[in-house]
Amino acid sequence: MENLIGLLVAAPLLGAALLLCGGRRLDGKGHLLGTALALASFVIGAVLFADMLGRDEHDRALHSHLFSWIPVGGFRADVAFQLDQLSMTFVLLITGVGSLIHIYSIGYMEHDERRRRFFGYLNLFLAAMLLLVLADNYLLLYVGWEGVGLASYLLIGFWQHKPSAATAAKKAFIVNRVGDVGLSIAIMLMFTTFGTFAFAPVLSNATDASEGKLTAIGLMLLLAACGKSAQVPLQSWLGDAMEGPTPVSALIHAATMVTAGVYLITRSGAIFNNAPDAQTAVVTVGAVTLLFGAIVGCAKDDIKKALAGSTMSQIGYMILAAGLGPIGYVFAIMHLVTHGFFKAGLFLGAGSVMHGMNDEVDMRKYGGLRKYMPVTFVTFGLGYLAIIGFPGLSGFWSKDKIIEAAFAKGGTEGWILGGAALLGAAITAYYMTRVMLLTFFGEKRWVPDEQGNEPHPHESPKSMTIPMIVLAFGSVFAGGLFSLNDAFLKWLEPVTSHSHGHSPLSAATVTAGTMVVLLIGVAIAWVQYGRRPVPSTAPRGSLLTRAARRDLLQDDFNHVVLVKPGEYLTRGLVYVDHKLVDGVVNGTAASVGGLSGRLRKLQNGYARTYAVSMFGGTAVLIAATLLMRAV
């Protein structure tokens, strides 16, 4: 069984290699090949899952050592995989949802002439993400981490002819680099602290290290997680990343990329458990981001950007949960999986809407689409109900648990976190209802575009709707299944451990509170967008609305705090380089040249001069030799 683990990564990697190196020969069938290899990876994952279920719960981790990568003295890096329950969960999510997105893309990218390349990048994305979650040490994880960064760059900028897409890709890459630096520093700190960076020794010896070092490592890991998972303060790339084709958005938001940060923190739980300050930083980031994303999501008229804000917010929930320690790890991952289903479904639904609407993304130009796209409407609607936490659907089970866990943190902290999580739930209900109403209800508001093409909304082809239907099933039932008999908790507990904490409120109270805020959120949205007609151009809005439209001024903040000082710094350096460095260099060059010109005159062409030079040289040689002896 161990040998199959390598194949999990190898299948999509092979696909990427074939599709990207295969040339035009594969243009015709390449997308099917890529999809088949993604499915193959899922099947292997399923086989491994069945095998894992068959074993005792404390004996489930598999280990597969491929080869020694960098054996240098005391430094040892292996290419080795570790498949435990946590990795397994991710493998199934990545390959499962990933495969569905592949299938969806067959229809979505049908007319794109660079389709083969697109599927190659998708496969590369899967391979990198699988490597990330299967690595048994932080260095190999880092390889996958960078691979994910590369693949996301390639895919976000896939429509490179659009300057906005190219810029967005660069932005995502650069912001991610900041996080990557954090990860690399964390790995270096681990090596100096523990002498290794393999999971097992680092995590089992975490208690031996000083709290200061663990806090430092934890904060650096948090920085890394912020980058990949788009958490404040490294969240700015996520919205722009919507420039990529919609399946890419679904992949980034549901199955890969943004989940990596949650994985990293959960995997490194032993470090955070012993570094309370780092944990505080994590929950703060999570709480701030979940509100930040939610507020941004309220103000966006672009359906994908609204969903992007929602992702930021939902990942904020997960980070918050992961920061709570053993109380929250399991629920962070559980929410991650259920979110994977409904967010993928929502994005694919959004893609389907755009597909039918000539790639229009402004929700104010939608309206009443439920009649034209029944399948999309139903699947999107189920995803909507799931994300707001409608009782019985997936999101209800997982989000509720996180809110409970936040209160269970105890003390003032617990109240603040729990309050933030509740408030987030209300805002989530509000903005998602808004999206739903603007898109599928009310009067039709679409108008002909500049070329005079009137959109003809229509249902998408089967290859697109079937993945949406499958994901809708997940959105509806996954949470319930996981919570049945605490199945998910028991499944993950051996890896992440679990404790209940001491909630000041009973579970029933929290659930009731959640329902109340949910209803309030939905009601407000209904009042604003359901009862009265929606203007097709956005009103000016309040100060907060305007700020939220500009992503709460994140780019302005970055511009003032980072870009401007950076520009001044580089200008200063350029000045120093021109005046000082170049001055020295050019001065040296000039003096060498001058010296050369003068020495050259010694070479006058007369043999007698040369002979004198030789004679003098010999005399000096002899004198120097004698002098050396005398000294």
Partner: protein
């Protein structure tokens, strides 16, 4: 009678008891085979000149030269395979010639270089045919006055100087002995054996004959001057040690002398003689390697000599002379290292800096390469000074790497021509990369190797000598070496910029299409440059195994 009788009795005493017999020298023909083959072939070459009709001489000479050099190289390989480079290293020919690792390595290098040089000597497609006869780089009749009637007649008759081949072989023979010489007299004889043919070869250019003859005369005068120093030094060393063998002198230096020669009782062990004599012998060798301040012949001679000769001379002479210098310093004078090391430090520093600095303002590609060779001599000296086994092997490696780059670079110079023959002025090379990308690219590779850019043999060699020097305690020397490399990189890169990023001149030179001979020479140069640059370890190991002198 008293005085005269004493003298007389001395004579008669000598006459009465004659030495028993002059012992027949014992010669190990097998171990000396490489040298003997080459010198034998040179004599055959002379006979060819004497006996064969003109029209057959070229082919016959080329055949004999190539076969002889290849056979000699095979003989070197055979000796190396027979462990003569390591466990069976010995001194042959009655103490005159050493057969050991460094000798075999250098002989192999010289022979390969000579073989490639023969290709460039034999090139007959570059110069336009004169009166329907294909001509090479050498004068139709060297003895004819330039521009005179005799010369015109010779050109019309299609004469060519096929004597260059035996001259080359004689020079190679001397070069083979030079680094293997184990006594000072053999050293001197070998020096003259390879120098005299080189003087003649320098005078043989077909074009710019006056320049060529001037170069030859300068080279000859200065060479004779330095030979005189060398010889004087040898005499002083004999006075000091009572022997000219390396081992014998070393013994006296070490104080483990076995017997004192009565006639020299007054001078033996006099350190002044040792130091002065040693310095003079060193000077003779430094002249040959072109170290500052004994370098001034180099640019003039490199420029004036026929380019194939320049290439051969620049590569092979340097190998031979450095070999002899290594043996002298490591075998004869190691006991004196505290005396000569500081002096050699100084020589290395001024050589590196001087070569690099003066090269900056050169405008002629052959002179540029000449100054570059001076700078390189300085770099190699840094390795010589290390006084460690690594020092020896790094110098051996550097010599092998450098000689092929040099030969290749000068071969490329023969290709770039205009109406006046080779277009060596750098301004004419502007934009060469646009018109002849391949030739320019090849030359760029050689220049990068000279500059010591990684993935070329120049980098591996430079790294090896600098590392050896640093390990041998010559850190400051390495710093100066790196600074000189930086200066040198400037003018190498400048040529590359000139070739690729300047507008071509309208009346610029054209690149001649060479015969397979020159093409092969250049291709070998490129191949060696890249192989030694990409995978130097095998050859470094080889040089490392060859790094022990026999004494």
């Amino acid at each position: 009678m008293s005085h005269a009788a004493t003298v007389h009795s001395l004579w008669t005493t000598a006459a009465v008891s004659p030495p028993d017999k002059i012992p027949t020298p014992h010669i190990e023909y097998g171990q000396l085979a490489p040298t003997l083959i080459v010198l034998g072939a040179a004599i055959v070459g002379v006979l060819i000149e004497a006996l064969l009709p003109r029209r057959h001489r070229y082919a016959a000479q080329l055949f004999v030269s190539v076969v002889a050099l290849a056979a000699a190289f095979a003989a070197v390989l055979g000796l190396a395979a027979g462990d003569y480079g390591t466990s069976k290293a010995r001194i042959a020919a009655m103490g005159a010639i050493a057969v050991d690792g460094p000798a075999l390595f250098l002989e192999g290098t010289i022979l390969l270089v000579a073989l490639v040089a023969v290709f460039t000597f034999a090139e007959r497609r570059l110069d336009p045919a004169a009166h329907g006869n294909r001509v090479d780089s050498f004068a139709a009749q060297a003895a004819a006055v330039p521009g005179g009637d005799a010369e015109k007649a010779a050109v019309k008759a299609g004469f060519t100087t096929t004597e260059v081949f035996p001259l080359l072989l004689f020079a190679v023979g001397g070069m083979l002995i030079f680094p293997a010489a184990n006594d000072l007299l053999t050293l001197f004889v070998a020096l003259e054996v390879f120098s005299l043919p080189l003087y003649v070869l320098c005078a043989l250019a077909r074009r710019h004959r006056m320049l060529s003859q001037e170069a030859a005369v300068k080279y000859f005068l200065l060479g004779a001057f330095s030979s005189a120093f060398l010889l004087f030094g040898i005499a002083l060393l004999y006075g000091y040690a009572g022997t000219v063998t390396y081992g014998g002198i070393a013994d006296v230096v070490d104080g483990t002398v076995r017997e004192v020669t009565p006639a020299l009782a007054g001078t033996m062990g006099n350190d002044a003689l040792l130091l002065i004599g040693g310095a003079m012998v060193l000077m003779g060798l430094l002249f040959k390697i072109g170290a500052v301040p004994f370098h001034m012949w180099t640019p003039d001679v490199y420029q004036g000599a026929p380019t194939p000769v320049t290439g051969f001379m620049a590569a092979a002479t340097k190998v031979a002379a450095f070999g002899a210098l290594l043996r002298l310093l490591y075998v004869v004078l190691p006991g004196l290292r505290w005396d000569w090391r500081p002096v050699m430090w100084g020589v290395a520093i001024v050589t590196m800096l001087g070569g690099a600095i003066v090269a900056v303002t050169q405008t002629d590609v052959k002179r540029l390469l000449a100054y570059s060779s001076i700078a390189h001599a300085g770099f190699i000296l840094a390795g010589v000074i290390a006084m460690t086994p690594d020092g020896i092997s790094s110098v051996l490696f550097y010599l092998a790497a450098y000689s092929f780059v040099t030969l290749g670079a000068f071969s490329v110079v023969t290709l770039v021509r205009d109406a006046g023959g080779e277009a060596t002025h750098l301004s004419k090379w502007a934009g060469l990369g646009r018109r002849s990308p391949l030739v320019a690219a090849v030359f760029a590779i050689f220049l990068l190797a000279f500059a010591g850019i990684p993935l070329t043999s120049g980098f591996a060699g430079k790294f090896a000598v600098f590392k050896a020097a640093a390990d041998g305690g010559a850190g400051p020397l390495v710093v100066i070496g790196v600074i000189s490399s930086a200066i040198a990189a400037f003018f190498y890169i400048r040529v590359i910029v000139l070739m690729f990023f300047s507008e071509p001149r309208t009346e610029g030179p054209s690149v001649a299409v060479p015969s397979p001979l020159t093409s092969a020479a250049i291709a070998i140069g490129v191949a060696v440059t890249i192989v030694l640059g990409v995978a130097p370890q095998y050859f470094l190991d080889l040089a490392g195994q060859a790094g022990v002198f026999v004494r």
